[in-house]
């Protein structure tokens, strides 16, 4: 089980959260000039790193807010918690 520090509520059990997958995915555009390959990448292709992963989480059974988490997929260490619109943090 992960212990995730919600930016609003503080440290909470993983069961209160929903993971929304990889974050910082920029929508391509405009549609008229976007190729099928670009759309496919945007919709379906995700990183699957062994190590640092930047991902969105929702405090579903808490404050109801989305935020970003930098997590190590190997050790499960949460290296940073930051706002949904913040730039990527300085972690490795």
């Amino acid at each position: 089980m992960l212990l995730i520090a919600c930016p609003h509520c503080g440290p909470r059990d993983e069961a209160e959260f929903v993971c929304g997958g990889q974050t910082h995915i920029a929508r391509p555009g405009p549609p008229e000039t976007t190729s099928d390959a670009q759309w496919a990448r945007y919709l379906f292709e995700r990183d699957n790193p062994k190590g640092l992963h930047l991902e969105r989480w929702l405090h579903r059974h808490g404050c109801g807010q989305w935020f970003n988490v930098a997590r190590d997929t190997l050790t499960h260490e949460v290296k940073a918690v930051y706002g949904l619109l913040d730039t990527r943090p300085d972690v490795t």
Binding site: C9, G10, D13, A15, E16, H61, G62, G64, Q65
Partner: protein, 183 residues
Amino acid sequence: MADALEGRAPIVWPDRLRVAALPPQARFVFRGDAEAAARAGDAFGATLPMTPCRAAADDARAALWLGPDEWLLLAPPGTEDGTARDIAAALADLPHALACVSDRHAALTVSGPRAETLLAAGCALDLDPRAFPQGMCTRSLLAKAEIVLWRHQPASFRLEVRRSFAAYVWDFLAEAAREHASA
């Protein structure tokens, strides 16, 4: 609407624990920004706390922080129309949402010196008074049910439960109480 826990006799473990259903209650969910919340508090009669996971209450009314733009308001039964009118009038020019949810929840109290122990059977929160003091409230999980948990008195918690989960939560607490009593 009939209360979801109507007719349930309190679960009592003398001097240690008491689980009791609460009577019907007027409930609202208010959503809006800080300015809207401040004005809603004036109209409602209890401050909407801006501090995360805190409740403000007097004998009749309470406002519980649920999220940065979301509060649960509790008022005496039958006051729905007046409360909705007062808040709508005070916020006519501000974006906000006010939803009456009186019949959405059932409520119960878990009190006594073993209240934390009982809740810990299904809730991962640190309920020590230093971590979860009087006046603290939050949405969380009890076993598989979402709850709003509020330490409304030093040794008493109030639980707000979706009415369709009320029987499940009650039976879960009864089972946990039996286990602790026999240990």
